[in-house]
């Protein structure tokens, strides 16, 4: 094995790969700056008109923890939160949800069915 040749190929290859990718880093950083969205920074005024590309997160950020009394089903919480949001035009968020009566409803009716029944009978 020609050691000098081997080392020169390794050195040349690694250096060229790094040079190319470092040049690309520089160009992309400049592009980000001129696009008004520098790397790691916030969008500037220059990019107001450009539609921000959504960077999908691996999972949505958890909403602020809602205090829910035990025994209340998830679909009931979802329905209440949606109702609050609809009534407040999206600005309101429930902080805690608890049952006004003492015991959780039992029986064959599902939470949705009970909610519908409650809504329809509330005026009376």
């Amino acid at each position: 094995m020609d050691l000098i040749f081997a080392l020169s190929v390794i050195f040349t290859g690694v250096v060229i790969v790094f040079i190319v990718l470092i040049v690309l880093i520089g160009v992309m950083m400049l592009l980000g700056k001129f696009s008004g969205v520098p790397s790691g920074g916030k969008p500037s005024d220059g990019e107001k008109n450009a539609p921000p590309a959504a960077v999908s997160a691996p999972a949505p950020k958890a909403p602020p923890q809602l205090a829910v009394q035990s025994g209340i089903r998830g679909e009931v919480v979802a329905a209440i939160a949606a109702a609050v949001s609809a009534l407040t035009g999206g600005s309101g968020k429930p902080v805690s949800i608890r049952r006004t009566s003492g015991k959780a409803p039992t029986g064959a009716r599902s939470a949705w069915s009970l909610a519908g029944l409650h809504e329809n009978t509330q005026p009376f």
Partner: protein, 380 residues
């Protein structure tokens, strides 16, 4: 009449594969069946390993003369797409339409990790030379460390086509084993504190940046390493088609029908090169060993550079994303995500790891271009 009948039967029997099969062909048929098992049952990169394995099966059927070297046969003509360097760039075109370079554009420093992981290619080149391979052969074996199937096939077809079968089988098998090979190296080279680092959310990337990116990358890479133009150019063309949003039909075709057709043709052609005399050699065993070393080095250097960047950024970068610099997209990024979540279940590294992961695709194509430039004149 009966005499003619018996003589015809005898003639068929003597000329049949049962009478003509040799031991090595039998072994190759068994190897093909093993690879089919890995592809179908264990799901080792089945999209390519299955056609490769079946191509191997066809190439080793006695008397059929259906392999890449039998002029006039079907597989000989299909193989021309590999030999002339047509299929791998077309695969890259399809990959480009399915790749989102947003995480890389949002954090261009990920390019460094993509470059670092390619060091494994050159160190494996050294190891292959030490084991007695010629420089072009060593370059083809080293490119396995790029963890990029089309790049490995493209490079090997130019530098050492007689090793194509062994290198392709090794490359795709190890790509399927990324979740097994990488984690021990990642844990060995990082501390628990480093693995728990939570990274800041990436900035949003504008559509303009996503459209300019493929054009800029093509120009920069092609000007510096012209030999990488076909691979990087097709990758970026696919991506530009996707990001422009004005050629939906072409994107749909490139990412589905075209990709599938070329995958089949590429796989079966590569498999057709694995005749017994080319595959059952001591060189194949060395290639298999060097392949895993290449993967290991690539992962190790990616993580080490991740540690350097972690130190330079005062703890803002999780070194685990460095291992995603090998271009096994998106498997390597998922491994970084999984290893990060093992230490901190609230840690989401996937999109951060996608930056180095796609940077590695570009990096391995550049490394291939450099190897072809230096070593192609030495091909006998």
């Amino acid at each position: 009449m009966f005499e003619m009948f018996w003589s015809t039967i005898k003639g068929i029997a003597v000329d049949s594969g049962f009478a003509q099969i040799t031991l090595v062909e039998g072994i190759m048929l068994l190897v093909a069946c093993l690879l089919l098992y890995l592809a179908i049952v264990r799901q080792f990169e089945p999209l390519l390993l299955l056609p490769i394995a079946f191509g191997m099966l066809l190439a080793n059927i006695p008397v059929a003369n259906l392999n890449a070297y039998s002029e006039g046969s079907l597989l000989y003509y299909l193989y021309q797409g590999v030999k002339l360097g047509i299929y791998p760039p077309l695969i890259f075109l399809g990959i480009g339409t399915m790749t989102d370079f947003g995480p890389l554009i949002a954090n261009p420093k990920s390019f460094i990790l993509g470059a670092a992981a390619q060091i494994g290619i050159f160190l494996t080149f050294f190891g292959a030379l030490a084991l007695g391979f010629t420089p072009p052969e060593a370059g083809s074996i080293g490119i396995i460390g790029g963890a990029d199937g089309p790049t490995a096939i493209f490079t090997t077809a130019k530098l050492a086509p007689h090793l194509l079968g062994a290198i392709a089988v090794a490359a795709y098998s190890y790509m399927a084993l990324v979740p097994v090979i990488q984690p021990p190296i990642m844990r060995l080279l990082t501390t628990k504190k480093e693995r728990c680092i939570v990274m800041e959310q990436l900035r949003p990337v504008s559509r303009r940046e996503k459209i300019l990116f493929p054009i800029i990358v093509t120009l920069v890479v092609s000007f510096i390493v012209p030999e990488a133009t076909s691979l990087v150019g097709m990758l970026m063309l696919g991506n530009l088609m996707k990001e422009s949003g004005v050629v939906e039909r072409l994107v749909k075709t490139a990412s589905n029908e075209m990709m599938n057709i070329v995958t089949i043709l590429l796989g079966i052609s590569v498999g057709a090169t694995t005749t017994a005399d080319k595959f059952l050699t001591p060189q194949t065993i060395k290639i298999v060993i060097l392949g895993v070393i290449a993967f290991g080095f690539g992962t190790a250097f990616g993580v080490l550079f991740g540690k350097i960047m972690c130190w330079a950024s005062k703890g803002k970068i999780n070194p685990l994303i460095g291992s995603a610099g090998v271009s096994a997209v998106p498997m390597a990024a998922r491994v970084s995500q999984r290893e990060g979540q093992r230490e901190n279940p609230a840690n989401f590294l996937l999109m951060h790891a996608m930056g180095p992961n796609v940077a590695g695709v570009i990096g391995s194509a550049v490394a291939a271009g450099v190897l072809i430039k230096i070593l192609a004149p030495m091909v006998g």
